[in-house]
Amino acid sequence: MSKGVIDYQINQERIRNLRSRFVIFSVIALAVIVLISFIAFNFHKNIILQQKSIRKIYKLLNKQQNAINQISSLGGLFDEEISSKEMISVQQQVKKSVSNLKSAGTELSSLILKNTSASLEDLEEYLIRKKIRSKIRNYTSHVKTLLNDSSTPAEIKKSIQYISQNSSDGDTEYINELIEIIDLEYKSGMKLIENMGLLIIFLCLLEILIAWIFLFRPLNSTVLAQNKELLESALKVESASRSKTDFLANISHEIRTPMTAILGYTEILQNQSELDRSKVDNAVSIINKNASHLLGLLDEVLDVSKMESSKFELIPEKINLSQLLNEVYSLINIKASEKKLNLIFSNLEAIPKYIYTDPKRLKQILFNIIGNAIKFTNDGYVKLTVKLEHNRKLCFEVVDTGCGIPKEKLKIIFEPFEQAYTAPNRQFAGTGLGLVLSRGLTRKMGGDLKVLSSELGKGSTFLITIDPGELGAHTLIDKLSTSITPSGISTIDHNEKPLNKKKILVVDDAKENARLFSMYLENSGAVVEVLNEGFSVVEIVKDRKFDLILLDLQMPGMDGYQVIKEIQKNGYTGKVSALTAHAMSEEIKKTKDYGFHAHITKPISSEKLIEKILLILG
């Protein structure tokens, strides 16, 4: 499980986006708020100033109205018989009223002129249009007549009459009209303030809405999504932990079962002093079988662990596909026969005779998948079909007539520690690692493993694909034939001379090896020459070519690596195989890097040596 439970990168990206969006939005929102506030503040300030002016005008008009009313009420006294003392008092009051009237008028004009408000400009226009100022001057001149000691009674009477007529209308009618206008202006200003308030409230709500849509809602979704992911991953971890617990329980059982047999039979061997040969052989055989099974189990666990920590390496080589499948067939048919199942291996169209892959791992995959098919099939057949696809992938389709896989298990059977059936009675024993290991191996081999189909009660079809390597001008076989070949017996016919007159040079400083390999190769029909050190090889290949050179790596003087480097430098193009006791993957890689065509590990049986040589020679 190399992918993390939560995709950390995607979440980090999401958070970064949200953060930058938050910053941008906050800056824009702040700018908008500041702008709107500034505009609103100015607008509000202007309206307030206007309202203040209107209130002042209102006061001034009232002052004028009061002055006129005072004059009007005092004007009548000028026509009456009153004492001179009273007359003086009346005159003073009238003078005061006139002064108030004039000062109010002056103040009003000044106020109107100073103010730049549009409504007050209308007011000025009204005053000019209605000739209010001249009317006031006219009015005050009549009042002055009353106050003038030199005025004649007729003039006084005329003035009193004028004043009386114009106190509420005529020349002074403007005051009421102005008051009405001012009143309207005041009300309109108040309305504006009200509307302004509503507008600001609307803008605030709009900003809140925008903040919610562009900020809080994505934030909320992100938090909810992360919460959901966290919950899912917590469930996954819990499930994985449960699976691990199940696995440990399984593996404990899988280990205990063979260990019990091993310990039991070794105890029998220990305690029984006299056992006949057959019983001893039987006990040893059972111990051997269980120990091998245990070893296989531990290997599986180690392989899975290596695969998950990416330390796994394949060791590809050229192999005979037909031969490999024969080996698999012979071994696995034992299990099929025990359950009286038909085991069929066949091919669709021609398939390559040789492929380039890791034979041990390919066998491991086939044993696992076909083994599973046999395990879960009680009657019918298990069929393996081999095919070379157009995309150059080699396909192995495994079909069985078994119990099938439940739908809900199809998604999880390739997970570590998961099995299709984990019944308490452990009818189908296993570790739950076979499929995950097989899939990991096929993917490393350039292919995949999947379930093509599965039906409960009817069976399943698995498809294994691998990259067969560079086939070049490959030989094809039309029909795959399988035969049961007991292990340890070679498929080479010893009556034939498979290396018929092939010229092979054996280079090894140890005479024992040279003798051994000469014997093997000559028995197979090869013409063999032996050299015991590297310098002679460099000389001999200058004017001679061999079908194959088997070159030991560890030699005194010039070792195998130095020899191949030297002969290739001199233009030697024949095939050279390393022959060494080193079997580690690093050594195999090193020989490949140095240009060896193959790596043969000592010790090796005659049959295996000849098989390998036939593969090298093609």
Binding site: S292, N513, L516, K602, P603
Partner: protein, 108 residues
């Protein structure tokens, strides 16, 4: 890791050379006894790399000549010489001596 039914786990009396190599067993045995002397010298000198070379050589050919026990010792000797565990190498060289003495009795 070898399986239990691999040849090297059989008893010394059951060890058999491959067909065609029977006549070379005695010569093989004598050559190994000579090399054992060399191993003792290398051990005294603390020369683990030379011990390793001989062990490596033995791994390559002991089995076909029917010296299964020596093959097993050779593997252990190679590993310990590689790790420069001279004490263990000494024990293994002694085991090889005992083995070859037994083998000589059988082959002669």
């Amino acid at each position: 890791m070898k399986k239990l039914n691999d040849p090297q786990y059989i008893s010394i009396s059951e060890e058999k050379p491959q067909k065609g190599l029977e006549r070379f067993q005695k010569e093989f045995l004598n050559d190994r006894i000579t090399e054992l002397e060399e191993l003792s010298t290398f051990l005294l000198n603390g020369n683990s790399s030379s011990i390793k070379k001989i062990a490596h050589k033995w791994i390559g050919f002991c089995l076909p000549y029917g010296f299964n026990g020596l093959d097993k010792i050779a593997h252990e000797l190679f590993k310990n010489a590689n790790e420069e565990n001279l004490e263990k190498c000494g024990d293994l060289i002694s085991s090889a001596k005992d083995y070859l003495s037994l083998k000589k009795a059988l082959v002669d």
